[in-house]
């Protein structure tokens, strides 16, 4: 061990300015061709959108806590509310106020009195939001989170930054296309902001017809915005495919790529093949809405179920656009922080590709209750289950990687462990929705809401945060406070479970999603009150966790220690350039020996002087 020849530490050389300081002023950022700066700009934009979408989430959850707080059990049955409607004009009448002028009581036949509560529309109690505002809030929450945050999140922000570094390259294959992709993302954001400030959107992020073609909210603006964002996504995908094919260094064969690169490759294939379908579909909505083209609206001779097929043909594969890169990050984190070679590399790599391909064939599982044929439902259910196998393989492989390792519970690893648990719950509850008989009951209830939040937030966003904490020292050159980082991860983990686990119970017991007001269900379902309160409390806890994570990361910019090139002890190439890297990334092209393996962590050596690691050159093994 003592006889090793210490490689000269790259940081010790005369270094060019790092990419953050190579060029000054706003224009040097907005029109840069540097993949790292584009990645950082994406990151800022995506985190800002996350804040916006998060504010809507808190609005929704706060609103939904109120019926639980103001409802008095046993009083909304029969005539109380209907009386309130008839005599109480504009006053917000608390549900259950009993009026003496019970006009509704004259509803003749007895059965009418018994059912009056459901027949006369109660004046909606004055909660935080009106129904119109609530519908806009959940629509914008979904649309912003999906189109602006989760789809571009990992590939465009982290992938952009890390992919060329992992390949030892100077940049992506098409730097100008990369910049254009970011500019399109910005334009898409502007469209969504226009929607937000000019009346909003109330269709739900799914734009189901004929609701979307008949509502008078800003559907056209929103679909054009999503159309543009689609192109942004396609360009990123094309760029990554070309980069991975052509910019791998000599000696890095396909099976020596880091698994994050594999996952970005699988993601890019979906982005390029599926997103055009969304673009066409959204364009058809705009044409139908503005020019009366009869595609989806039955009044014009169209078919609303056709829209669902078109929409989910993109939007289900899009789920894998969201989750695959997250799985790639987790493979990196689990291996690095267990100081172990990733277990079953090929199974993990192939499972990414398998998920990408099978993901194209399962869209109909969103439509088991839509009236599609029984045969179609059967086939889609069977194919849906086939996707669960590669996902399960990954989870077992991650656990096997930890076996006999040297597990270090630093912040990124905490996020990785949180991912495995949360994605585990999200994936396992997917079984209930893939099985036909149970899906009929659970479809469009809070069970579905909980399921996809476990996957999207507990999966993708937690992986994104893990990756962000992992590559943060590389991006900024600063180390953050690890204790604070772990506290953030813990709070987010607890908050997510408190928010979404109660929603499983809400859903199985019959609470539909997208309900402005559930107070009329409370008499029969008193448990809805407590479950909704727990969920709202969890949302605030999650928000606190995110604030702690933000303080941790942003604080490091001011107070953080300088980061060494390789702070975690990973063997892949992005850790062999300085932190932060110079504009052209590597001071000298990294040497890829025949024995190169991004997971060969036995060659990683700690250097107390820089408090970082370096990788022994394994020219001869």
């Amino acid at each position: 061990m003592v006889t090793e020849v210490a490689e000269p530490k790259p940081i010790a050389r005369a270094t060019p300015p790092d990419y953050l300081h190579d060029g000054r002023g706003i224009w040097s950022w907005l029109f840069t061709l540097d993949h790292k700066r584009i990645g950082v700009m994406y990151l800022v934009g995506i985190l800002t959108s996350l804040l916006l979408g998060g504010i809507f989430a808190l609005l929704i959850r706060t609103h939904l806590a109120i019926p639980a707080l103001v409802h008095r059990p046993g009083q909304t049955i029969s005539t109380g509310e209907s009386a309130a409607v008839i005599v109480g004009p504009s006053q917000p009448t608390p549900p259950g106020a009993v009026s003496s002028q019970d006009a509704a009581a004259q509803l003749t036949a007895e059965s009418e009195a018994a059912t009056a509560a459901s027949t006369v529309q109660p004046t909606p109690p004055r909660y935080l939001l009106t129904p119109k505002e609530y519908n806009r809030a959940f629509t914008l929450h979904g649309a912003i989170m999906i189109f602006l945050v989760i789809i571009p999140g990992i590939p465009a922000a982290l992938g952009n930054f890390v992919l060329p570094l992992m390949l030892g390259a100077k940049d992506v294959a098409f730097p100008r296309l990369n910049l254009m992709s970011f500019h399109l993302w910005l334009i898409g954001l502007v469209f969504f902001l226009v929607v937000l400030f000019t009346g909003g959107l109330d269709t739900g992020w799914t734009f189901y017809t004929p609701y979307s073609t008949t509502t008078d909210t800003r559907v056209t603006t929103a679909v054009v915005g999503a159309f543009i964002l689609g192109f942004s996504s396609i360009f990123t995908g094309i760029n990554f495919i070309a980069t991975i094919h052509f910019l791998r260094p000599r000696g890095m064969s396909w099976f020596r790529m880091p698994l994050f690169v594999w996952s970005l490759y699988a993601t890019a294939i979906i982005q390029v093949l599926a997103t055009p379908v969304l673009g066409i579909t959204l364009l058809l909505i705009a044409l139908e809405k503005n020019f009366g083209l009869g595609i989806f609206d039955p009044k014009l001779g169209g078919d609303p179920v056709l829209f669902q097929h078109f929409f989910w043909f993109y939007s289900h594969p899009a789920v894998y656009i969201m989750i695959l890169p997250g799985m790639g990050i987790i493979s990196e984190l689990v291996s690095t922080f267990s100081r172990k070679h990733i277990f079953g590399y090929r199974f993990i790599a192939f499972s990414s590709v398998a998920i990408a391909i099978l993901g194209f064939l399962v869209w109909g599982h969103h439509m088991f209750t839509s009236g599609q044929s029984r045969l179609a439902s059967m086939i889609f259910s069977a194919l849906t289950f086939s996707v669960s196998i590669p996902s399960a393989i990954k989870v077992f492989n991650w656990l096997a990687t930890m076996y006999k390792g040297r597990i270090s519970l630093q912040t990124p690893m905490c996020y990785a462990l949180a991912f495995i648990l949360l994605f585990g719950i999200g994936g396992l509850t997917g079984l209930f929705l893939g099985a036909l008989a149970t899906d009929v009951h659970l479809h469009d209830t809070y069970f579905v809401v909980a399921h996809f939040h476990y996957v999207m937030f507990g999966g993708t966003l937690v992986a994104f945060l893990g990756g962000l904490h992992y590559w943060w020292p590389k991006m900024t050159g600063k180390m953050y406070n690890d204790t604070l980082g772990r506290l953030g991860a813990l709070l987010i983990f607890l908050g997510l479970n408190l928010t979404f686990f109660p929603q499983f119970v809400l859903g199985t017991r019959g609470m539909p999603r997208r309900y402005f007001d559930y107070s009329s269900l409370l008499d029969r379902h008193p448990e809805f009150a407590g479950l909704n309160l727990m969920s709202t409390a969890g949302a605030y806890l999650t928000a606190i966790g995110l604030v702690v994570a933000a303080i941790c990361l942003l604080g490091s910019l001011r107070w953080g220690k300088k980061a060494p090139p390789n702070p975690w002890g990973s063997a892949s190439l992005e850790w062999r350039c300085p932190s932060p890297p110079p504009k052209e990334n590597f001071l000298s092209p990294p040497i890829i020996t025949p024995a190169f393996d991004p997971y060969d962590l036995d060659q990683v050596v700690y250097d107390p002087e820089t408090q970082g690691y370096w990788v022994r050159q394994t020219a001869v093994t």
């Binding site: 004009p89 519908n135 039955p298 009236g371 492989n397 076996y403 119970v505 007001d517 559930y518």
Partner: protein, 344 residues
């Protein structure tokens, strides 16, 4: 038709704590009480899946906990122990076992679904129509009700469509859900096994009052459904036109968009409408007399009130003369303070 509270088996008013533990009710922790012939198969599959999921989740948690405790960095453990980086047999094992489990799950789920979607040939048919934000249940007599009344222990087939956007009929107690799609018919069926009253909800987002699009399923005891249907079908004969009109106002979906308290909803209020001067969207104005009301019910887009969008579905052919007259009488009875000429 009154319901004897003692027979409403699944209804228990919540206790004042409204705690989240649903122990005060029948049903299990996860599922509400079940009331149809196909529900038990769904529940069985649900609990099977629940235990499978719980097993695998606990397996993951246990392994993770053990590994963290045994292999975490601590004094004396600064390097990993050698272990293989892959093992084909192990990896095949944890691919094949889950595969066999999910094939079984798929098969059970598919069988339950086929039962749910295949009505027996002798089913009693009720037509269901959805309209923002109201349910219409049309019985073979032609009578339309806002709630779904059915006899117990008899297969009921629902033939459904929507008059505007997509809705979805959801009866949690029957584990039943099916979309109502404009421009086509969908169908589903169930057989209730227990007399009582159950919730019926709209599960497909349909706009502002989506969460108010509720109805009841009333399952009648043997022999009582027929009596109820005959009595209900004749309600026009037993009531004054104003009273009958009030019922139609609710049953025909008017109440969803037209208030009777003066507040504007999706459509203009009915309070004080009769005899008033109505400003139209094209700038002209018209007196709201019987003919105006009649035309606005049958062909709503003919004269659109200023400030409102033309989105009411036409009722031409849906209401007979007697019902139109009753509705108009009801609207005439809604005099506002001003139109009544004084305050009270």
């Amino acid at each position: 038709m009154s319901m004897d509270p003692s027979q409403i088996t699944n209804y228990l008013p919540g206790d004042s704590l409204a705690g989240f533990l649903p122990l005060a009710q029948s049903g299990s922790f996860w599922l509400p009480p079940s009331g149809s012939t196909t529900a038990s198969a769904v529940d069985w599959l649900f609990y099977f899946l629940f235990y499978v999921a719980a097993f695998f989740f606990l397996l993951i948690v246990t392994l993770m906990t053990i590994f963290i405790l045994k292999y975490r960095v601590r004094p004396g453990r600064d390097a990993p122990e050698p272990s293989p980086s892959h093992n084909t047999w192990l990896e095949l094992t944890w691919s094949v076992i889950p595969t066999m489990i999910i094939i079984f799950i798929f098969a059970v789920g598919f069988a339950g679904y086929m039962d749910m979607r295949t009505p027996p040939p002798n089913a009693y048919e009720i037509r269901v129509t959805g309209q923002k934000w109201k349910w219409f249940f049309t019985y073979p007599t032609g009578y339309v009700d806002e709630n779904l009344h059915v006899p117990v222990d008899r297969p009921i087939r629902l033939v459904m469509t929507s008059r505007d956007v997509i809705h979805s009929l959801f009866i949690p107690a029957f584990r039943l859900k099916m979309d109502l799609v404009p421009g086509r018919y969908t169908s589903t069926w169930f057989q209730a096994i227990q007399p009582g009253e159950y919730d019926l909800l709209c599960a497909e987002y349909c706009g502002d009052n989506h969460s108010s699009m509720l109805a009841k399923v009333i399952v009648h005891r043997p022999g009582e459904f027929e009596k109820w249907l005959e009595e209900a079908s004749n309600f026009m004969k037993n009531l004054s036109p104003v009273e009958a009109g009030r019922i139609l106002y609710q049953r025909q979906g008017c109440a969803q968009c037209h208030s009777i308290d003066g507040s504007a909803k999706v459509g203009p209020t009915f309070l004080g409408l009769y005899g008033s001067e109505v400003k139209l969207a094209d700038g002209s104005s018209v007196t709201a007399d019987e003919n105006y009301l009649r035309e606005s019910i049958l062909v709503p887009d003919a004269k659109v009130v200023a400030g409102f969008r033309p989105q009411m579905p036409p009722y031409q052919g849906l209401l007979d003369e007697e019902k139109i007259a009753a509705l108009i009488e009801f609207i005439k009875s809604l005099k506002s303070d001003q139109s009544a000429g004084g305050h009270n």
